[in-house]
């Protein structure tokens, strides 16, 4: 987190008179990431070092999800290009690991910056 956002980059793409937060954070809320479980998945994966994958079972424990639910949401994130799913075998046991992509990190940083922007704008100014 904490990536700086170029606020001017996409301002021209916004409708005039849009929300202030949209002007500050031109990418707005990321609807794919904003879903609560996907947000937790991205938060966990974003905490890992670059390209470091996390075991499916560890991810399931940290985001507190069921196998099926986690699998479905990972599919959504993978289709969006935000995560990469690696399947292999350790001995005879199948192993699934998940890592965040560079695009996923950027999207997550933008979404978090957007959320902070929403809170900042709602906070009373001194």
């Amino acid at each position: 987190m904490g990536a700086s956002i170029d606020a001017s980059a996409g301002r021209a793409e916004r409708e005039p008179g849009g929300a202030d937060c949209a002007a500050l954070h031109p990418d707005g809320a990321d609807e794919i990431i904003h879903q609560p479980l996907r947000l937790r998945i991205m938060a966990v994966l974003n905490s890992l070092p670059t390209r470091e994958p996390l075991d499916f079972t560890q991810l399931r424990a940290s985001v507190q999800a069921t196998d099926g639910n986690l699998g479905a949401h990972l599919g959504t994130l993978e289709r969006a290009g935000y995560v990469e799913i690696h399947k292999d075998f350790v001995g005879k046991r199948p192993r699934t690991r998940v890592s965040i992509s560079a695009g996923g990190r950027l999207a997550f940083a933008r979404h978090v910056a957007y959320l902070r922007g929403v809170i900042d704008l709602a906070s009373p100014r001194p």
Partner: protein
Amino acid sequence: MEISSDQALDALQQVHDAQRRISIQMGYGRGAPHFLLWGVIWIVGFTLSYLYPAEATRLWLVLDVAGFVGSVLLARHYRAHCEASSSAIMWRMVALVLTAVGFVIASYAIFLPHEAAQFAVFPALLFAAIYIGLGLWRGMRWVVAGLVLAALALVGYFLLTQYLMLWMAAVGGGTLLTTGFWLRRG
């Protein structure tokens, strides 16, 4: 997509909670091999101390150095596979262990323990206290391990003095091994 400030606050809280959970989990993963290593060292060290009490000092010197080197190698192995930034963490852990060893030596110099049982239990209590302290930031499993270890060491010291070394080998070393497997489960 419109998001209210309350929803944004809730979302950021979820991000924070998820990151805290994975941080604790990763800490457990990093700590597990160290507990397993020192569990084995305790079992070997205390068993041999019971069998060959006259050699106990030299024996523990060798085992402690071996354990220290093993811990550094484990930390380096983790660093090579995971985090570039863990270098700082590794050296902080090394400094913490050296501080603890220095504390034990200084304490012996001041309090002049004269029984083998005192030499055996004091470091165990110190490391139990360190686990508890770490656990206040790094997760409850460290706290539980520290409390169990301290309680068992005191039970052995006050109630089973004659068999303290065997007690520390079986129960103390066993606690460290069990904690290692528990932490490894994540």
